[in-house]
Amino acid sequence: MKQDILLCGVGGQGILSVAYVIDQAAMESGYFLKQPEVHGMSQRGGAVQAHVRVSDVPIASDLISQGEADLLLALEPLEALRYLRFLTPEPGRVFSDITPFANIPDYPDPVSVCEKLWRLPATLLVNGAHLAKKAGSPKAQNMVVLGAASGYLPYPSALLEKHIATLFARKSERLVNVNLNAFRMGRAAGDFCDLLIRSGVSGELAARLIPWLDFQPWPVPEPVAASWLSFFANPRAGEVINRLWSEGVAVALDEEVAGCLLAGKLPGTAAAGSVSSRTHPRFTAKPVINRQ
């Protein structure tokens, strides 16, 4: 067994917490581990990454070589593009949040960034900002992405959840629950994406739909899944998904919704934040020198 993961995002988004959970699970599973990370200046809103190398034999290099990572977990879509070259072309899997962290003045069009990602051979996109907020804290975006990727990690969910709980128990019981729920919503998204692809839905269409579904911290019920499979049988599916991207709303996961969408309605929706927003609420660029 060997698994190399590249984690990336923006300083302050919580990459080190994701790394902590995977590290602990790896040690408890009896694997060898090397995990370099970034401290210092870049933690002030710069591009940051961590490498997680896990193996059942000793690992020589702390660093992952270019083209050798199995998974890329990105807490921000532009950062996913930046570190893509580390992924194996075989193909490596990308798990990325779609929420732009626009703390630079020339941030590109966020949808065009996501588009580059969903065209890759194996991508899962999640709406971390929406799901984390629903779980109780926008800061839990990182756990949504970890949850989404967790089906591809060689550890049972219960083990990952145990270490999420340990990590946040230092802060509060509430944060433990918030982060566990964020993780479980991400897991529901990941499992649902796999189900769609196993059932013959194209990876690209599945990746484009997932960010706009209102996942719960439990698996998508079978009848709901079935209704979405018939949705994808309709040639208008792609067009409807485009509409979800432009409206920026998450649709509820119940049996009726897929059908309603095809009929041109947006039922039972929740505002999920438009990805076309150019500024991040927590981190706007400063105005030029004179405030007046």
């Binding site: 923006v10 300083g11 790394a19 590290d23 602990q24 040690m27 060898f32 581990l33 090397k34 995990q35 370099p36 990370e37 970034v38 401290h39 210092g40 200046m41 870049s42 933690q43 002030r44 809103g45 710069g46 591009a47 020589a60 290099s61 702390d62 660093l63 070589s65 270019q66 083209g67 050798e68 990572a69 532009l78 950062e79 593009l81 930046r82 893509l84 070259r85 580390f86 194996t88 072309p89 490596g92 990308v94 703390n103 630079i104 003045p105 941030y107 590109p108 069009d109 065009s112 580059k116 890759l120 927590r282 981190f283 706007t284 660029a285 400063k286 030029v288 020198i289 004179n290 405030r291």
Partner: protein, 543 residues
């Protein structure tokens, strides 16, 4: 043996704790900060009798540790590479005075300058000081070498260096740790004359250091971390020091026997092993993360070519920047794997440099400074080291120089002496106590025409929120005590709503032809909670 996940920095810290240190001394700086942080938090959690308080600067840290060593106890010093420049004075001379309790100085170098102003290689300092230097290859070795370094320091009576690089300092792995050794009892060594470096004593101490060199060399020669593996006559030789060992092993995996290998982890260089390697090998490749220190010694700085040496000087590896497994591949002409490519990614990719946080007090201070300077034509603002160095970037463009800790005030004085006025400089509260006070004494004595802005956010923010030495009222009193005229010590609160008033104050002080100090005081937004907790505990302590 107990296993745990530790950063390279933390493995060093745990090694020092388990070696029985009684004190840890440091000034924060990436990538070394987590060494001291681990010791401080572990000592607090486990109620260990280990003195662990941040020092004002690296020189002070070194001197405090030296004192503890003179008193027979073990002490650890840790800082980043440029910190050793600050501490170089006591460092070099302590190799002549010798030590009593084990004294280990851990220096974390930053190849590629991830968070630094240069990429100097501390192994040169160890060579210059003529002491033994460890360079661990991984986290486990970092733990054992630190423990061993204390025993060695005590046994040889000299300080011992342990050199880390960013990639090891900031990488986690599983480390097995052993039972701790008890701390030393405090005791003075019998002959205090060796500590008093009057020329007559210093000559004796230096002679002792020189006479001991063969002993240090023979220690390095026999050390298992300096491992020579000859596979066959005429094969290429590879020297890999410290973390480079893992990179060479990663690249060649089961093909390692195609080479004669020398792994290095202890300096001075083991000459007999090097001779044996050279005699057996067709050419010598050198992989070291940092300056080409081994490579230059092999070629006598390029003076002789009796052996073909390939590395940085030969152009087979980049002359600067950190070593990576991919660079080892490229040096041998092995194709680096092409990673996944998203078509059109280059069109949308943008660089994302670090920035001041939303709501940062420094941002408001810079906006006020820039507006106040508008009417004065071309002004160069001398800057310093901290988060506020990010004010170099747009939209602030609030500083035009940053050299080393505390340099801003002295440089501003020089510009004023040269007559290019008005002169302004910015320095953080912690950088000011680190090494900004002494140049301010000069400026106060001469009443140098310049305006010093102390950006007081009441914390050491860039390195992760360590407590500052002096902030608030005590900083103002200090300024007056240093000789700055009371009328020209001004305090402003950098907030958008105070902008116009702040601009007015700055303009007034710039117009004054003499020394002014403006303290722009507002708590860091990122570490606000930590600052308030520290303030409460200080107030509690005073009652």
């Amino acid at each position: 043996m107990n296993r745990r996940i530790l950063l390279g920095d933390e493995a060093v810290a745990k090694g020092a704790l388990d070696a029985g240190i009684s004190g840890a001394y440091a000034y924060p700086g990436t990538p070394s900060t987590e060494i001291f942080e681990y010791i401080r938090s572990t000592a607090a959690q486990e109620s260990l009798p280990v003195h662990a308080c941040w020092s004002t600067n690296e020189k002070v840290a070194y001197e405090q540790a030296l004192g503890m060593s003179y008193a027979g106890r073990r002490a650890l010093i840790s800082f980043k590479h440029v910190g050793l420049n600050v501490a170089a004075d006591p460092f070099i001379s302590s190799t002549i005075s010798g030590v009593h309790g084990g004294l280990v100085v851990v220096v974390a170098d930053d190849p590629s300058m991830h968070s630094s102003q240069n990429e100097q290689d501390s192994r040169h300092y160890a060579r210059f000081a003529q002491i033994i230097c460890y360079e661990p290859a991984d986290q486990q070795q970092a733990y054992w070498m630190t423990r061993e370094a204390f025993d060695l320091s005590e046994q040889l009576g000299i300080p011992v260096m342990l050199r880390l690089v960013t990639r090891l300092a900031h990488s986690r792995s599983i480390v097995a740790v052993d039972d701790p050794r008890p701390q030393n009892e405090a005791s003075f060594c019998p002959d205090p004359s060796q500590w008093t470096l009057l020329p007559s004593n210093a000559r004796r101490g230096f002679e002792r250091l020189l006479n001991n060199q063969p002993q240090y060399r023979s220690f390095s020669e026999k050390h298992p971390a300096n491992q020579l593996l000859i596979s066959g006559q005429g094969k290429p030789g590879v020297i890999a020091s410290g973390i480079a060992k893992g990179y060479v092993q990663e690249v060649f995996k089961d093909r390692l026997t195609e080479f004669n290998l020398l792994y290095l982890g202890v300096y001075p260089l083991p000459l007999a092993k090097l001779r044996e390697l050279i005699a057996a090998s067709s050419e010598i490749w050198v992989f070291e993360d940092g300056y080409p220190l081994i490579e230059q010694q092999l070629t006598g700085d390029g003076l002789h070519d009796s052996v073909t040496v390939r590395g940085k000087c030969s152009g087979d590896l980049p002359a600067s920047g950190e070593l990576t497994p991919d660079l080892v591949r490229q040096a041998f002409g092995i194709q680096v794997r092409q990673g996944l490519v998203a078509s059109g990614a280059d069109e949308v990719l943008r660089s994302r440099p670090p920035v001041l946080c939303e709501g940062c007090p420094h941002a408001d201070a810079y906006l006020a400074i820039r507006e106040a300077l508008d009417e004065f034509g071309e002004v160069r603002i001398m800057g310093d080291i901290g988060c506020y160095t990010l004010g170099f970037y747009k939209p602030y463009e609030g500083l035009h120089a940053c050299i080393c800790m505390g340099a801003s005030i002295g440089m501003a004085a020089g510009i004023s002496h040269a007559g290019l006025r008005p002169v302004l400089c910015v320095i953080g509260d912690s950088t000011f106590t680190h090494s900004g006070m002494t140049p301010l004494v000069d400026a106060a004595r001469e009443n140098t025409d310049m305006t010093v802005v102390i950006l007081d956010n009441s914390i050491v923010a860039m390195t992760g929120g360590q407590p500052t030495m002096l902030a608030g009222e005590s900083l103002s009193s200090l300024l007056e005590g240093l000789g700055v005229a009371k009328d020209h010590v001004r305090v402003i609160r950098p907030l958008p709503r105070n902008h116009e008033e702040n601009v007015r104050v700055i303009k007034q002080e710039i117009s004054y032809s003499g020394l002014s100090v403006i303290v722009a005081r507002r708590e860091c937004v990122t570490y606000y909670k930590e600052i308030k907790t520290a303030q409460r505990s200080r107030e509690g302590g005073a009652q």
